[in-house]
């Protein structure tokens, strides 16, 4: 999983870009729209500070500021399932708050813009949560 030559990126653990095609999970079973705009063959891992957590329909969003190794901050929008689907995977509306430090693994937008579909999140109490009861979150 470690990308050779990217040690600098990993030193701050703020941006770890990992391309793990072998581990790429199928998109979780969600409704509302196709997920083909996300590249599910790519997984980026990044850590940052939460600027918004929107527990809304049709999707939940985590907004994060992610600093790189030079301290330059890039903002990312991360799409999750809906509250219903996330609750079936163990999420609560209070699991993330503004100001939390969070690590997320996401399938990025194919467009290259700073957005993606959540694969998993490590929340402030250390729990690792998936994006619904698809392959990512276990369950049938």
């Amino acid at each position: 999983m470690r990308a050779a030559g990217q040690a600098g990126l990993r030193t701050r653990l703020s941006v770890g870009v990992l391309l793990c095609t072998a581990l790429a999970a199928a998109p979780p079973l969600l409704a509302h729209h196709s997920f083909a705009m996300f590249d599910t063959a790519k997984r980026l891992t990044m850590s940052g500070t939460v600027t918004a957590f929107e527990w809304t329909n049709p999707h939940v969003y985590i907004e994060i500021d992610v600093p790189d190794e030079k301290g330059t901050v890039k903002h990312w929008s991360v799409e999750l399932g809906s509250p219903s689907i996330l609750m079936q995977a163990g999420w609560k509306f209070s699991d993330v708050k503004v100001g939390d430090k969070i690590t997320v693994v996401l399938n990025p937008l194919r467009s290259g813009e700073p957005g993606g579909l959540l694969a998993q999140a490590t929340v402030r109490d250390g729990r690792v949560l998936g994006n619904g009861p698809g392959r990512v979150g276990g369950q049938p």
């Binding site: 079973l29 969600l30 409704a31 509302h32 729209h33 196709s34 997920f35 083909a36 705009m37 590249d39 600027t51 918004a52 929107e54 809304t56 329909n57 049709p58 999707h59 969003y61 907004e63 500021d65 901050v73 903002h75 929008s77 799409e79 809906s82 509250p83 219903s84 689907i85 609750m87 079936q88 937008l109 194919r110 467009s111 813009e113 700073p114 957005g115 619904g132 009861p133 049938p140």
Partner: protein
């Protein structure tokens, strides 16, 4: 007194028989299974009992006039999805699915509220609601204003709930996004296959669009004590670009 009773009984014999049948069928209707509660779509999977899996769907055969545009659209969808630019559907713009697609949206549960005079089905995605009026005659199709849920009437056939629905508007796509006309009629046969497993066999008839009716069956498992979650589509960041592809709005800093 025995004399006059005999002919009277003979005269009222057929009426008594009808009364008996009515009472018997009434007695049966009073003890239908209770379907009330929340139900999750069941998709089998590892460790599942194959006996509980629904039977496979029958083929969908569209009339030639409708088959070509349908196949063209499906091919365009597949092509766009391969390119990572999936074509949008009404749901992308927060328009509810309508009946029958609302009955199987990902893993969203459905709640059944059963009363003798009405059965109400609420599905969680988009909070869609169907009302099934029990033991009432169906309206003529042309008297039902076309809508997302149409007009549904139901009755018990033994332990099976039979629902007849007409009046679905043409823009509300059907199973596998199939087109339909205003003449579509949908019959459901809903029954418990085990105390905690429900099957809904859905048969679609449409003399305008279909060469012959087709059927598919949805399975649900009971979710004891589940509380339905609200779904108000208030924060939709998906939109369709000029090519009709789904895109995601970014919030920015």
């Amino acid at each position: 007194m025995a004399g006059p009773k005999g002919p009277a009984l003979r005269r009222s014999g057929p009426a008594l028989l009808v009364l008996f049948v009515l009472l018997a069928s009434h007695g049966q209707a009073q003890t239908p299974p209770d379907l009330s509660g929340a139900w999750a779509p069941y998709r089998g999977g590892r460790g599942a009992d194959p006996a509980l899996n629904p039977p496979p769907p029958t083929p969908i055969v569209l009339k030639p006039l409708y088959a070509k545009p349908y196949e063209t659209r499906r091919a365009a969808e597949d092509e766009a999805t391969k390119k990572g630019e999936p074509l949008g559907t009404a749901a992308v713009q927060c328009v509810p699915y309508g009946f029958p697609r609302m009955m199987a949206v990902a893993l969203y549960p459905a709640e059944i509220i059963q009363r003798p005079s009405q059965i109400t089905i609420i599905t969680e995605a988009f909070s869609e609601v169907r009302r099934v009026y029990m033991n009432q005659p169906q309206l003529p199709i042309d008297e039902v204003p076309p809508g997302y849920y149409g007009h549904s009437v139901g009755k018990w056939d033994g332990d099976t709930l039979v629902i007849d629905t007409v009046g679905i508007k043409e823009s509300v796509l059907g199973y596998q996004n199939t087109p339909h006309s205003t003449q579509m009629r949908i019959t459901e046969r809903i029954r418990l296959v085990t105390p905690d497993m429900l099957h809904d066999q859905i048969t679609v008839e449409d003399p305008v669009v279909l060469e012959k009716p087709f059927s598919y069956t949805l399975a649900y498992r009971r979710m004891p004590n589940y509380k339905m979650v609200e779904f108000v589509c208030e924060n939709n960041r998906e939109y369709l670009d000029e090519k009709g592809a789904v895109k995601m709005k970014l919030r920015g800093r």
